[in-house]
């Protein structure tokens, strides 16, 4: 073994580790679909508020969140099968997403039904959890952009306090565009670059 061969081996190790990173970047589809589903949910809710059909808002969210959950399960299984390997970041991501999903469900449906707080506060709590999700994923992926998206969600939660409760959820649209759709597009571009 000489220095040249040693460098060759180190290059091989780096190349193999880089290839496993492609699996992490492949999660862009989850961000994109959840971003779109949530924007559609907000739009649906806004329409229901405009026509004063408040009692149907829960169904609007059940439908859109249901679409997101079904997609996550089906695509997640297909994605895992295609990749053939489970990285530690993808395992951590799945756990964080499940934990935050449960928190969204409790905060958005169960606690308001139990009348623990007013419906108008849901958007604020959802923003807080969305911030935790983005910031934690940013930490797992070692991706500062996503961490800043988390901070943005928290600032959004503060901003919502000063907006009339009927229009609070509208602030979700720019937050979702910046906090979910934008990272999805960046991840997609990273994934395709790694595939080339």
């Amino acid at each position: 073994m000489n220095e040249m061969q040693a460098k060759d081996e180190i290059r091989l190790i780096q190349e193999m580790i880089e290839k496993t990173r492609k699996i992490t970047a492949g999660s862009w589809m989850f961000f994109l679909v959840w971003g779109i589903v949530a924007i559609l949910g907000v739009a649906g809710m806004y329409v229901l508020v405009l026509i004063e059909q408040y009692s149907w808002i829960w169904l609007n969210w059940v439908v859109f969140m249901g679409i997101g959950v079904v997609f996550s399960i089906v695509y997640g299984k297909k994605h895992e099968k295609q990749q053939g390997a489970r990285t530690y970041p993808t395992i951590a991501t799945a756990h964080v997403c499940f934990a935050c999903g449960m928190a969204f469900f409790l905060v958005g449906f169960i606690f308001p039904l139990l009348k623990l707080y007013a419906w108008g506060l849901i958007a604020v709590f959802i923003s807080l959890i969305a911030g935790i999700l983005a910031f934690t994923l940013g930490g797992i992926y070692e991706w500062n952009l996503l961490k800043w998206c988390g901070v943005l969600w928290w600032l959004g939660a503060i901003g919502m306090v000063f907006i009339h409760e009927n229009y609070r959820a509208l602030l979700f649209v720019p937050l979702l565009l910046i906090g979910y759709i934008m990272p999805a597009l960046v991840l997609q571009s990273m994934y395709h670059k790694q595939s080339d």
């Binding site: 580790i17 053939g84 390997a85």
Partner: protein, 100 residues
């Protein structure tokens, strides 16, 4: 003279395919046989032989199951494998940095 200055490389890992296998397994929880084959770009036979050697040394564990009707072979690195890989890297570094 040289062998005194340079560390001794682990002969189990000192092969292109086996080194590639451990490099992948060190960064994932588990990987399927097909994933390893495609990522490394080798043949079934060569990979099988390399995996057997790593398993015999206790560096990896191989699990053979069925997913539906298809056989699924997955590999994981063991604690012994992690330590061996880390020691191998340290030894490699001595080859690179020695001539600086």
């Amino acid at each position: 003279m040289q062998s005194e200055k340079f560390g001794q490389l682990d002969p189990i890992i000192h092969s292109r395919i086996r080194l590639a296998v451990l490099s992948i397994l060190i960064s994932v929880k588990e990987a399927s046989f097909n994933y390893l084959k495609e990522t490394i770009g080798t043949t079934d036979g060569n990979l099988s032989a390399s995996l057997s050697k790593l398993e015999e040394a206790g560096y990896i564990s191989i699990n053979k199951t069925f997913k539906g009707k298809k056989p699924l072979t997955t590999c994981r690195i063991s604690e012994k494998g992690r330590k061996a890989f880390s020691a191998y890297l340290k030894t490699l570094e001595t080859y690179v940095s020695f001539k600086k």
